[in-house]
Symmetry: C2
Subunit: 332 residues, 2 copies
């Protein structure tokens, strides 16, 4: 979910109106723990905590059919939603798939799309429970996923001063793929991170169990997403420049184009890695258990501070306030 | 939900592939009671039965922005989903809203859209819990709704031979509005049924409590939808021509254009009335309580038979097999 991500002014409007509707009393025997504002909505149903999210992929906006193959697109449409479930420390229950399909798409193409969707559904045990199919001029794929979390969900607002900040995997890989495609050089880098992101479901629920305080998934890049977590937690942070794990594809691409790899990675969207905060005492266990049990690398990149400021620290210990391209203005 | 409604050949393909993914085991402490094939998916979570649906409205396919006003469109986008919840005998928990918006839409227009959405959300106590906003060339509005049902949900497959068939309200009103708009005569009939359908939530849960055996909402017209309920129940039906309640707007439009009003109403889409089957013993109570408690008219239109045949009976008792325009071919 990213109600706030794309339409700056208009999202404020939606938020304003949404506030009216989310305050409506529901007669249903269900408690709304979180509405708009986190990676998923959170609902308490009896003794179960449910997670609920939706993400829309639009042809010409989120993907181009001359770049991405149908099978990868099917995978990605589910994976980006599962990433939101992962960010809450939960596991998926099932998915709904709403499709708008241009008439020139063959049954073979749709079969490929569904093969990719099913591969992801199978890998992460997410049965398809329904949806909607329609004709349209432009393709739209909207997936909604329900999940469940044992115990407390990992909200964005849980970060505490002194917490360590971690990220899974490496950053900038998806952006490198996208820029290569935009430059007509799709063969220059590995396109897997861009086409087939890996939802970090195992990491998310393990980090929750091991004492993480806040989590979110990186869909707009660390530079845009970290401020959201900090705003929600009413905290600031210091990030160490040299600690940012840069994806191989991003290293290759920035080297070839004489770009700063860290700045590139920080402003890279669609990595779908997890951003995690956790108390210092839990860090040795997290750093040992997560790579060992899930095979996913985990990096310490900085720490949460009480002051509502955001600093990027160089290897020489110099601190610069964040003003990297792609960085959201950090207003608290 | 209407995975089967619009893409005949391709929906068969989706169904085939969906069968693979819905059979995947879920690790979550949730039982999937119904996946694809009814008005909503049905999930058992602890002692609660949840309902889950999504419906996508696409500019140029489901609506034209030079016909429908933003406020009505906002209402309708939620109402058509609530109608699916009503058809299961449930009540809504909340909604997610995914929007694709062309750049030429002003904040005022979006405000109007959200005003209509909120009016419907308020009328039917459905808090907005999240979603997604995006830029796109064509407008797409995808709404997902979660609901809950006390006791057993009203599936399509519950109809028994001897059951009485009922419909709420009157049919063909939405089609009359659409045809008037298509003919450039929007002022000729009342456009409310087309622009602002009323989800029959109160009727649905009352009919469930009073012993109904099967229900669905009429989104593609009785002629197309009744066969779906009968197929799911493995039954047939006799419908009485003179018993079909025809909406005033449809009467007016067909009179002016010399059309058969009943045939028009039977093939009219988007009425969002409920189709209900119930045992004969419950009918007096249903016919008394539902109009009295909800203000919604209820009409007996026929009965369920064991033979997998579908007959339309004239006032003279003559039976014709269904071959009305818009009728789905009834293959069992």
């Amino acid at each position: 979910m990213r109600l706030d991500a794309q339409l700056r002014g208009e999202s404020a409007l939606i938020e304003r109106i949404a506030r009216r509707t989310r305050d409506l009393p529901s007669l249903a025997p269900v408690t709304i723990v979180e509405g708009i504002g986190d990676d998923t909505a959170v609902l308490q149903v009896g003794n179960q905590t449910l997670l609920w999210t939706a993400d829309m992929l639009i042809e010409g906006v989120h993907f181009r059919l001359d770049w991405i193959d149908a099978r990868s697109l099917g995978w990605k449409s589910l994976a980006v939603n599962l990433s939101d479930i992962a960010a809450m420390g939960g596991e998926p229950i099932g998915a709904l798939l709403s499709l708008a399909l241009p008439p020139d798409h063959t049954a073979d193409w749709l079969d490929e799309l569904m093969t990719g969707f099913t591969e992801c559904a199978r890998a992460y045990r997410t049965p398809l429970l329904g949806g909607d199919t329609n004709r349209a001029e432009r393709m739209v794929i909207d997936v909604s996923v329900l999940g469940v979390v044992s115990g407390r969900p990992m909200l964005r607002r849980g970060a505490q001063a002194g917490d360590v900040i971690l990220v899974t995997g490496a950053l900038g890989g998806s952006r490198a793929g996208l820029e290569a495609l935009q430059a007509g050089k799709g063969g220059a880098v590995d396109l897997t991170p861009h086409f087939r992101p890996t939802p970090r479901l195992e990491v998310g629920s393990l980090a929750r169990a091991l004492g993480a305080t806040a989590m979110m998934d990186l869909s707009d890049g660390l530079a845009a997403d970290l401020p959201k977590l900090l705003r929600a937690s009413n905290k600031g942070a210091i990030i160490r420049r040299t600690a940012i794990p840069v994806h191989d594809a991003a290293l290759r691409w920035t080297q070839a184009h004489n770009l700063d790899p860290v700045a590139f990675a920080l402003a890279g969207g669609e990595d779908y890695e997890l951003l995690i905060t956790a108390p210092p005492a839990t860090i040795p266990t997290l750093l040992e258990q997560i790579p060992q049990q899930t095979g996913v690398p985990l990096s310490v990149i900085g720490e949460v501070i009480e002051a509502r400021e955001l600093w990027l620290e160089s290897s020489e210990g110099q601190r610069e306030s964040f003003a990297i391209s792609g960085w959201d203005h950090f207003t608290v």
